[in-house]
């Protein structure tokens, strides 16, 4: 059964200049479509990863899934509850099932709070019992129960991220949205945090929405991967399929361009072009100006995400590549 079900999710930001400038300079309103018609489902107890480069909309989707941002269109359903249409009581009930871990463990912990207060806050805010909870959770994430009385500045980056994990676990959530959880960490510390997250998933039956730009990390963690480009889901597949035989030219380019540990002296033909301006995205397929396979149809018509076997891909020419 799927725990999270996202249907035609779209988010548009108004990035216009202030109204006075618009009047004086005769500028029109400007809109940035950060997420455009994205649909996917996350199975219970699985890890769904969103990958993409900057501006692909992965963090915006994460924020909409936890309810920090309202979608412009489309729905987010978690455990059968539609975050936009459900009653307050229902949303209140579902809230504690969703938690988030952020990228920067230095910015996401209140420097004036003790670790104990930080960790139990999600429970205390709902009037739950918090006695001994922080100590128990600290032990579960590999820190000492004695750390509960300390302040965040007394910890290293990796330890802080463990505190964030402990806080996320406090309300016994079903779904944890992790937005680049290890991007700010060193390799050896990243390994510790990734292992911890895998262990906790097995232990508590957690579901993760894992957002990252790092393909190797995603490949290591995910059960299913969605590739985003300019706010659109271009391909979705299991990691084995995706990395062995990427169908979308963008996925192929990403995998090819990522540095390989065993690629000594590998000569990469660097990809051409850069991510286009999201305010004026190209017509048709957003990737067509950079795509080596583009045909006329790609610039006229936007390809839809179509099911082929166990995977989905949005490319007119994907069938020819299988």
């Amino acid at each position: 059964m799927s725990l999270v079900s996202i249907k035609s999710l779209t988010r548009v930001f108004d990035v216009s200049k202030p109204w006075l400038n618009r009047v004086i300079e005769r500028l029109p309103k400007r809109f940035l479509t950060a997420v455009s018609d994205v649909s996917f489902e996350i199975e219970e107890r699985s890890v769904y990863a969103l990958v993409g480069e900057s501006g692909s909309g992965k963090s915006t989707i994460g924020k909409m899934v936890v309810g920090l941002l309202k979608p412009s269109q489309g729905t987010v359903q978690i455990d059968g509850v539609d975050l936009m249409r459900a009653s307050d009581a229902e949303i209140d009930r579902i809230r504690s099932d969703i938690q988030m871990i952020f990228q920067d463990p230095f910015a996401s912990l209140n420097p004036r709070w003790r670790v104990r207060d930080i960790i139990v806050e999600p429970v205390a805010a709902r009037g739950g019992k918090t006695e001994g909870l922080a100590e128990k959770l600290l032990e579960q994430v590999g820190l000492s129960p004695l750390d509960a009385g300390k302040f965040p500045h007394e910890f290293s980056g990796g330890q802080r991220q463990r505190i964030c994990v402990a806080r996320a676990l406090a309300s016994e959530p079903k779904l944890i949205v992790c937005d680049e959880p290890t991007s700010a960490l060193d390799v050896s510390v990243q390994a510790q945090v990734l292992n911890l997250m895998s262990d906790l998933r097995d232990e508590f039956g957690l579901t993760y929405l894992f957002i990252s730009h790092d393909l190797t990390v995603v490949q290591h963690m995910a059960d299913r991967i969605g590739v985003l480009y300019l706010g659109r889901l271009v391909e979705e597949a299991a990691p084995g399929d995706l990395f062995d035989a990427p169908l979308h030219p963008y996925t192929r380019m990403l995998i090819e361009a990522a540095p390989k540990m065993d690629g000594y002296g590998r000569e990469v033909v660097p990809p051409t072009g850069e991510i286009p301006d999201p305010i004026n995205p190209p017509n048709g397929c957003a990737y067509h100006p950079r795509c080596p396979l583009a045909i006329r149809r790609c610039s006229a018509e936007r390809p839809v995400l179509e099911q082929t076997g166990t995977r989905r891909v949005a490319c007119f020419r994907a069938g020819e590549l299988v």
Binding site: E53, S54, S156, G158, Q159, D186, V187, S188, V189, Q190, A191, Q192, L194, N195, S198, H213, L215, T216, V217, Q219, H220, F243, M253, L254, E256, A257, A258, P259, K260, M261, D262, G263, Y264, G265, R266, E267, V268, V269, P270, P271, E274, I275
Partner: protein, 323 residues
């Protein structure tokens, strides 16, 4: 025999503090030959950027070089006066930093910045310097360089800005380029472009490159040799295939195990227990011994200086893969 472009001979940097003297760089030695790319890896606090800053004489006070020598094309540069050093920097050593936005002046057009640098070092005069600047932008792959030379840095994307910074670093044709995390702020596809550019230019010009990064993948694809640093000391140095493929120092071995790899599948990542020690509380002996699976009594007493090992050097009493 050819003189290496850069020679570090037991270079040490110290920072005097109220709580004692810290050694962020401790007796580091290596050479970089003409046309060679030396990758310097390590985690945060390993001293890799500090080493780069020491070479170019840009240490923030109170940090200072406390021992050893830096030789550029056989001449000592660590004891130059600031005025003499300014002539070396930019002319003989080019620099590329992590954040391309902060390394460019936002108030000057890139053309002004390039011609100023070219004129200052090569004394060509403004018109010739401008021609040179356009050629430099062309070389780093900026489309329509002639039209874009009068643009300001904010008019460029991150990847294009980093190209401008590379053009700036290379415009005086230095013999050494120090690139400190040049691709860390960039997206994967742009990173691939910048790496290919760095490799091509260095090959064409025969410049030596010291590439500082924490990304083992970037090192594997770019560097000829790699130096692994830990807590200010050189742990291991050697040809990239040897160091990454068959690491000898337990720290390198641990780093490789901790990196997610396609070939490892979903298996658990090998962890290095503990964390990098703080400089103020470095363990006695080998700095890695509290986290090392192979540590023995000897390691806790005195650190081993780097010794020749195959085509490289390693600083370990009990290297991996030894009988």
């Amino acid at each position: 025999m050819n003189t290496p472009v850069l020679q570090l001979d037991a270079l040490s940097v110290e920072i005097p503090t109220r709580h004692g003297v810290l050694k962020p760089v401790d007796a580091v030695s290596w050479d970089i030959a003409k046309g060679e790319i030396l990758g310097v890896v390590g985690e945060s606090g390993a001293g890799k950027s500090m080493t780069g800053n020491a070479v170019i004489g840009l240490l923030d006070r109170p940090a200072r070089i406390s021992g050893g020598q830096v030789l550029l094309n056989g001449k000592r540069i660590d004891n130059l006066t600031p005025a003499e050093m300014r002539k070396v920097r930019g002319r003989q050593i080019g620099m590329v930093f992590q954040d391309p936005l902060t390394s460019l002046n936002p108030l000057l057009t890139i053309g002004d910045q390039l011609s100023e640098t070219i004129d200052a070092h090569l004394h060509l005069g403004r018109a010739a310097a401008r021609q040179r600047a356009i050629a430099a932008l062309d070389e780093v792959g900026i489309p329509a360089a002639k039209d874009r030379i009068d643009s300001y840095p904010f008019e460029f994307s991150g990847g294009m800005r980093q190209r401008v910074v590379i053009a700036l670093a290379l415009c005086a044709e230095p013999s050494l380029v120090i690139a400190d995390e040049p691709t860390t702020a960039l997206d994967v596809s742009v990173q691939a472009q910048i790496i290919a550019l760095l490799k091509r230019i260095c090959r064409d010009r025969g410049a030596a490159v010291m590439l500082v990064t924490h990304d083992m993948g970037v090192i594997a694809e770019t560097a000829d040799r790699v130096a692994v640093m830990y807590a200010g000391r050189l742990a291991e140095i050697g040809p990239v295939a040897q160091v990454l493929g068959a690491p000898r120092h337990p720290y390198t071995h641990g780093l490789m195990g901790a990196t997610p790899l396609a070939s490892k599948g979903r298996s658990r990542l090998a962890q290095i227990p503990g964390a990098m020690p703080r400089l103020a509380a470095l363990p006695k002996g080998c700095a890695f011994h509290p986290r090392c699976p192979k540590a023995q009594n000897r390691c806790t007493v005195d650190p081993r200086p780097t010794v020749a090992d195959g085509a490289g050097r390693v600083a370990c009493w009990f290297p991996m893969g030894a009988p």
